[in-house]
Amino acid sequence: MILVLNGSEEPKYSYIFNAMYQIRADVFHTRLQWDVKIKNGIERDHFDEQNPLYLISIDENTSQVRGSVRLLPTTGPNMLRDIFPSLLSNGEKVESATIWECSRFSIRQGKETRADGSLVSHITGELLAAVVEVGLIAGLTEALGVFDARMIRVFRSAGYPPLVIGTPHRIGSFMTYAGLFEISEQALASIQQATGITGSVLEPESVARCLAA
């Protein structure tokens, strides 16, 4: 199940946000060795100040946070523009009303996910389906992402291969790419088919609350 949360709701749901920031610290600092700032065991950067939209995977039974992705419009401040411009060929820019950037795609590294390989693909499928569902609500054509080679394989097996753009670079210990994901009903169907997800993954109450702004 995916919770949809505005950055502006962080004070109200700080326990969920903290769990998400801890997973991000684990994934981006410990595993990928990106140059991210860790404070009190959490990873939070200044894009989190820009009131992004978060899609957060929650275990239905235990309410535990198990992964997340962060969305920001490419017309405003975003990571590819401000942090990773080198991933695009010189002078190229992605700045479009109908493209949002998804960043900090991360999944909890724990006993459960190590023991159960299909759980990782389920969480991946959920997060990707949520990106497409929210993208359709917002009228997007594509989502833009920055990810390493291993993730491309994960996305592909979730039925959602990105279109790699620009030039790959080494960030931390892995080759890193920028890519575009299609937002369409067909893309959603493809993810659902590959990952066995049926129906909407979005938790209805959180969507209603987000949309009530």
Binding site: A97, I137, T141
Partner: protein
């Protein structure tokens, strides 16, 4: 009924010809004409635009362009409705487009506001799209319709993409028409922190203690800030930073 007619009336290149027209706007008086043209092409009831963080022009109140009738505009201003209008508040809350149906009409003030708006011919259905610009500039672009529930749902599904595109182009044309340049400063996180603390009146030495930097490190960031913001000293940089919405508390 409405959707059927719209789909037969709309030409294939309507969106692109509108975008082209919008991109050519250089005078602010042409902005309302363009809203009216867009309204006509899509058979809408009304369109409105409110811009924020656009330098001096929006210090006291947002920059507003609307297709509403004069008497509603007058009433809105006289009654200070901009203080409670939830549409103006969404930009600080979300990046998602917001359907007006989801506003909290449990609040009697807001309920009264929307019922007056409806009586004034604003439109039965409404949706607002938040826009983020390059340098802290923000806006909200809203459209309304008088349609059945079914047509409204279909309209949103089919045309939300068109209006995402139109809202961003319209936002840029407002900046262009008012000669507001939105330079890309690309300040680093450290520079933003230094700028914030300088804005709080801290000295270089105090900032070095707060951020655990050497004094030389702080001086380095300050000189970068002055260069990037084209400022002559740190106070000037802070002033410009506030102007462009860059001065925010760090975590």
């Amino acid at each position: 009924m409405y959707i059927k007619k719209l789909n037969s009336d709309l030409e294939e290149d309507t969106l692109y010809s509108l975008v082209e027209r919008i991109d050519q706007i250089i005078k602010s008086c042409d902005l309302t004409d363009l809203l009216n043209l867009t309204k006509e092409k899509y058979g809408l009831k009304n369109l409105s635009y409110a811009g924020f963080n656009m330098g001096e022009m929006t210090i006291k109140k947002p920059y507003v362009t609307v297709t509403y009738k004069e008497d509603w505009i007058k009433r809105y201003n006289d009654k200070l409705y901009y203080e409670i209008d939830p549409v103006l508040k969404i930009i600080s809350k979300t990046i998602l487009p917001i359907d007006w149906q989801s506003f909290d009409i449990g609040n009697p003030k807001i309920r009264k506001f929307f019922s007056e708006a409806k009586d004034a011919g604003v439109g039965r259905n409404g949706i607002s799209i938040p826009v983020r610009g390059r340098s802290g500039d923000l806006s909200v672009f809203s459209l309304t319709l008088d349609a059945s529930e079914r047509d409204w749902l279909q309209f949103k599904k089919q045309f939300i993409r068109d209006f995402q595109v139109l809202s961003v182009h319209f936002h840029q044309s407002v900046l262009n028409a008012n000669k507001i340049i939105t330079p890309e400063f690309n300040l680093s996180e450290r520079e933003l922190e230094v700028l914030y603390w300088a804005g709080c009146g801290k000295t270089g030495e105090e900032i070095s203690l707060i951020l655990k930097l050497t004094k030389r490190g702080v001086r380095f960031h300050v000189s970068n800030l002055m260069f990037k913001l084209n400022a002559s000293n740190i106070s000037h940089a802070v002033a410009k930073g506030i102007y462009f919405g860059l001065v925010k508390p760090p975590r």
